[in-house]
Each structure stands twice: as structure tokens, then as C-alpha cells.
């Protein structure tokens, strides 16, 4: 069933944004080493394969978008489409990677009983992801928390401000490059 949901979502996103989004090309297989060549002593590390933008993650459909493709209109389509009806925003997660940042929306349909991971990639320098708050109110606090702890902007959010930390807090602690004051913690 999950594969069908994935195909359905891919089809809808294609008709919404165009075929080039969620496109995936099989990487070319590495060239066969010529026989006369000496075999390297250590096993070569395998090149990491590029991520599939539409796949099953632990049995549940997952799509990966760039932030310029993610919009409130697309979120509305996911929520309102007759066959999809993702009406319940379960969880919003932000992850900080060395090269980029990600926001993951876990969606659920209370009508159709199916799931979707929507992963939105954004840059580390100016992280911004279109807010889901106007579409699912549940996004309100969850996005504010991510803004607070990771510094990702959510354009379109009606009340984007810090929620857990004090208003005058400096920096965003969940970023990997956040300097924890070891002295203040008594660790230094």
C-alpha cells in the first residue's frame, strides 16, 4: 500500500511542479578495473549513492524537495487533494548537516490512514522553508521551536518568534556549530 501512496504522491507532485522535480537518475556503474591493473590493497570505499528523492523509508513514503519547490500551495494540495488528504501534521523536525539543513514534515491522513515524510532541503547560510502554519495550525508551535533552536526561517508564519528560550538569547543551540559555554557548565 505504501508504494501506491508513494506513486500517487509522486504523480501529484509532478503534475503540480513539473517532471524534473523528484527526478532520479541511476548513477553510472563504476568502470570495471582492467585486469592487468594491480588490485588495491585496501578495499575502496564505496561512493555514496545519490539520495532517491522519492522512496520508501522504513516502509513509509518519503519525498525530498528543495526549498524553492516547497510552498504553501503544495502543502495545501497535499492536504486537500481527494486521494491524498494529509490532514494531520504529526511532527516537524529540523536537522543540521555540514553542508545543508533539512526540515522534515511527518504527515498523516486521518481519513485514508496513510503516511508521508516530506523532507525539505535548504542552505546553511540562509536557511528558510515556507511555513506550513497557514495550512496546518499544528505547525505553529513546532515551527517556532525549530526557528528558536536551529534558526531556520519560516516565511509565511504569522508569529515567528522564540518559544522555549528567552527572547534575548543569542544563537541557536541545536546547530552543530553552536559553542556551548563549557565554563558556565563547569566542564572547563
Amino acid at each position: 500500500m505504501s508504494q501506491e501512496v508513494l506513486d500517487l504522491v509522486t504523480e501529484k507532485v509532478h503534475s503540480f511542479l513539473g517532471e524534473e522535480v523528484l527526478a532520479y537518475e541511476e548513477p553510472e556503474p563504476p568502470e570495471e578495473p582492467r585486469e592487468e591493473e594491480e588490485k588495491p590493497k585496501r578495499k575502496k570505499k564505496e561512493e555514496p549513492k545519490p539520495e532517491r528523492p522519492a522512496s520508501l523509508n522504513f516502509g513509509q513514503p518519503m519525498i525530498i524537495l528543495n526549498t524553492e519547490h516547497w510552498s504553501q500551495a503544495l502543502a495545501e494540495m497535499l492536504r486537500d487533494d481527494e486521494e491524498l488528504q494529509f490532514d494531520f501534521l504529526s511532527c516537524v523536525t529540523g536537522v543540521d548537516y555540514p553542508e545543508h539543513m533539512e526540515v522534515i514534515y511527518n504527515l498523516y491522513s486521518t481519513v485514508k490512514d496513510h503516511y508521508l515524510y516530506v523532507k525539505v532541503k535548504t542552505s546553511r547560510e540562509e536557511p528558510a522553508v515556507a511555513s506550513s502554519e497557514p495550512v496546518w495550525k499544528a505547525g505553529d508551535y513546532m515551527e517556532r521551536e525549530i526557528y528558536d533552536l536551529m534558526g531556520i526561517e519560516f516565511p509565511g508564519h504569522k508569529n515567528q518568534k522564540r518559544i522555549l528560550l528567552a527572547d534575548d538569547w543569542e544563537g541557536h543551540p541545536l546547530r552543530k556549530d553552536y559553542v556551548t559555554d563549557k565554563k558556565a557548565l563547569g566542564l572547563d
Binding site: 523509508n57 504529526s90 536537522v95 486521518t110 515524510y117 508551535y141 533552536l149 541545536l174
Partner: protein, 370 residues
């Protein structure tokens, strides 16, 4: 001569007995009617998610106890289950049963605390004493198996830490029998009480649409006719082996939430009884690799795992990069998501109902602030 009136800002908390923690509500009132409500939180923020990134996987389990400290077993469970999902481990049968029994006992204890304190909030003192008396017996059982009354640190990645002591299962059966008798007494004492009904019926009404839009879960959702209980809709652990109902009400007011929680205690008792009679007499209680904590190195990957806590959907999003420490742990705390509804729910209500509405949501601040 006309009387000058103006809107007033009323500050409730952060030190207010009815918030059961440190929580502040900024209320704009016109006369006695609320025109705007602004929850202010974060006073108990401990940076749990940041801390998780600095520990090996097992070291974070005690920190999950301190989220919703009234229902710590489910917190333990969902974190361990999230890591197990990445590892792809099979959990020994006996461990699954022990997990279900402890989780359901904890749900009973959590609902009893809510029952007692909610009535205390709206002005009835004696139910509190009854509720805590009964909760204490449940906590005794959890203490016997885990060594702690509230912060259990009982589950491990791959199973549980301790096996049940001799005679424990029989004691549990005795305990739930006692609780189910008490529930009947609570019913006579409170449910039909006219004062209680007039304080809760029609108060804090939530529609089905509001519930889904705001992502509310748990008894709050089910009291508004949204029939989602993760134990039924996506049975995790071994919940598909038990015969139990999901109590649902349609009214969506504080009284409906009360009825749903009371009915849920009865269902939990049913589950515990069945689990106690089905549990294998002996067997492994932890996956053989789980006992060696430094061995836990989930392959790179990420997954969202959710479970039904007493407050609603608790979830964890674990990202692993194949090392001994998690790369990222996101905690979806039900109270944090549920408390957002106050912005909508309190508008139009009168001041006297604030505590009755807030209490009916069953929010735990340790979980809101993480």
C-alpha cells in the same frame, strides 16, 4: 456620563498552582471575557534534544523520564523503539509483555493524577486524596520492577532492564482489581455530581476540525469524536494481541474529556489483565546485543516512531550516522502540541473557566519545555 472601559491584560503564572509546573498565560480580558490568550513557556527548558547528541544511545533513556514524568514508561518505550527501528532488532516476547504491562500501569497512574488534580483545580479536595491513595499502589508495583517511583529508566534498547521479581505478576493482578473497584467509587463520587457537571459540561468545546487542524491527540482528540488511538490504528509492540475498546465521545467539552479518561483506565485494566495471563513464564528480557550498551550502533538512516502516551501521540525522530551517538533526536511531545490550542480555545471563554479548560487538557510542563 459614560463609564470608561478598557481591555486589561491579566497575567496568570508562571507560578500558579493550577498549571502544575511553571507556565505563564497572558490573558487579554474585556470585562470577564477573554479576547486573546498567549501561552508563554520555556521556564523548564533543559535542552534535552541537544543533550541527546552528546550521549551514546543508552545514556539518553533517563532523560526521557523527565519529559512527561507522570507517564515515563511510554517515553522510555518510544525512544527505545525508535532506535530499535533503525537497528531492525527483534524484541524478546517476555520483554514485550513486561513493556506493555508497565506502560499500561503507568497510564492508569497518570490518569489518576489527572483525575485528582483536575478536581482539585475546580474546587473539590477529597477526590485528590482518593486518587493519590490508589496511584500509590500502582507506583509501588512499578517501583518493585524498576527501582523508582516515577523516573523509571526501565526500558533498554532491545528490551527491559529488570525481570519481574517473584510473585510480581500476581501482585499486579491484585492491584488492577483494586483499581477497578475504586473506579466505580469515583464514578459515584464525582461523575454524577451536579456541581462538577455544571462546571464542565459545555466548557472548552473543541470541534473535530479544530482537533485535526491543530494536531491534537490523545484523550482530547477522542473526546471530540476523532477516533485515533495509535494502539489500535497502528498497533506497535504487541498491542494487536489484546482485546480492548477505544473510548470515544462526541461532545468535545471538558466533561467528555473526563469521561474518556475514566473509560480509558478501565481499558488499560483490561489490557493489563490479559497481558498478565498471556505472559510467558520465563524467557529472555533483552536482545543479546542490547545488554552490551557500547555495541549499539544503528546503521545510518532516520525514522519517525510514534506511540500513544497518556497525553497523546508521543514521537521521536532519530537520525543516525552510524556512530555510537545519535546525530539528532527530535522529541514530539504531545503536551507541547496540545497546549497550543489554548490560543484558540480560550478566546470567548470567561475567566472563571480558564482553569477548568486548561486542566482538562492534561498538560505536563516537563514535557512542554523539554
Amino acid at each position: 456620563m459614560s463609564i470608561k472601559t478598557e481591555e486589561m491584560v491579566l497575567n496568570m503564572g508562571p507560578q500558579h498552582p493550577s498549571t502544575h509546573g511553571v507556565f505563564r498565560l497572558k490573558l487579554h480580558v474585556s470585562g470577564e471575557t477573554i479576547t486573546k490568550a498567549e501561552p508563554v513557556m520555556g521556564y523548564l527548558h533543559r535542552g534535552s534534544e541537544k543533550l541527546a547528541e552528546g550521549f551514546i544511545y543508552t545514556q539518553f533513556i533517563p532523560y526521557t523520564d523527565r519529559l512527561d514524568y507522570l507517564n515515563a514508561m511510554t517515553n522510555n518505550y518510544v525512544y527505545c523503539a525508535g532506535v530499535e527501528k533503525l537497528l531492525g532488532w527483534e524484541i524478546p516476547e517476555r520483554a514485550e509483555y513486561l513493556r506493555v504491562i508497565t506502560m499500561e500501569l503507568n497510564r492508569i497512574a497518570s490518569h489518576l493524577v489527572w483525575w485528582g488534580t483536575y478536581l482539585l483545580d475546580i474546587g473539590a479536595l477529597s477526590p485528590f486524596l482518593y486518587a493519590f491513595k490508589d496511584r500509590e499502589i500502582v507506583l509501588d508495583r512499578l517501583n518493585e520492577i524498576s527501582g523508582a517511583r516515577m523516573t523509571f529508566n526501565y526500558m533498554r534498547v532491545g528490551g527491559v532492564k529488570w525481570d519481574a521479581p517473584a510473585g510480581w505478576i500476581e501482585k499486579v493482578q491484585e492491584t488492577v482489581k483494586q483499581i477497578s473497584e475504586s473506579i466505580e467509587m469515583f464514578n459515584t463520587l464525582v461523575t454524577g455530581n451536579e456541581i462538577f457537571q455544571s462546571r464542565t459540561i459545555g466548557v472548552g468545546k473543541l470541534t473535530k476540525e479544530q482537533v485535526i487542524d491543530w494536531g491534537l491527540s490523545g484523550p482530547i482528540a477522542r473526546a471530540s469524536g476523532v477516533n485515533i488511538d495509535l494502539r489500535k490504528t497502528e498497533p506497535y509492540s504487541i498491542y494487536d494481541r489484546f482485546d480492548f475498546d477505544v473510548p470515544v465521545a462526541e461532545e468535545g467539552d471538558a466533561y467528555a474529556r473526563y469521561k474518556v479518561r475514566i473509560a480509558e483506565i478501565r481499558e488499560s485494566i483490561k489490557i493489563v489483565e490479559q497481558a498478565c495471563s498471556q505472559i510467558p513464564a520465563e524467557g529472555e528480557i533483552i536482545h543479546k546485543k542490547g545488554a552490551r550498551i557500547m555495541m549499539i550502533k544503528p546503521p545510518a538512516g532516520e525514522a519517525y516512531t510514534r506511540a500513544e502516551a497518556s497525553k497523546g501521540e508521543i514521537g521521536v525522530y532519530v537520525v543516525s550516522n552510524g556512530k555510537t551517538k545519535p546525530y539528532r533526536v527530535k522529541l514530539r511531545r504531545p503536551s507541547f502540541v496540545n497546549v497550543a490550542i489554548l490560543q484558540d480555545l480560550l478566546v470567548g471563554a470567561s475567566i472563571q473557566d480558564v482553569v477548568a479548560i486548561f486542566g482538562s487538557l492534561d498538560v505536563v510542563l516537563g514535557e512542554v519545555d523539554a
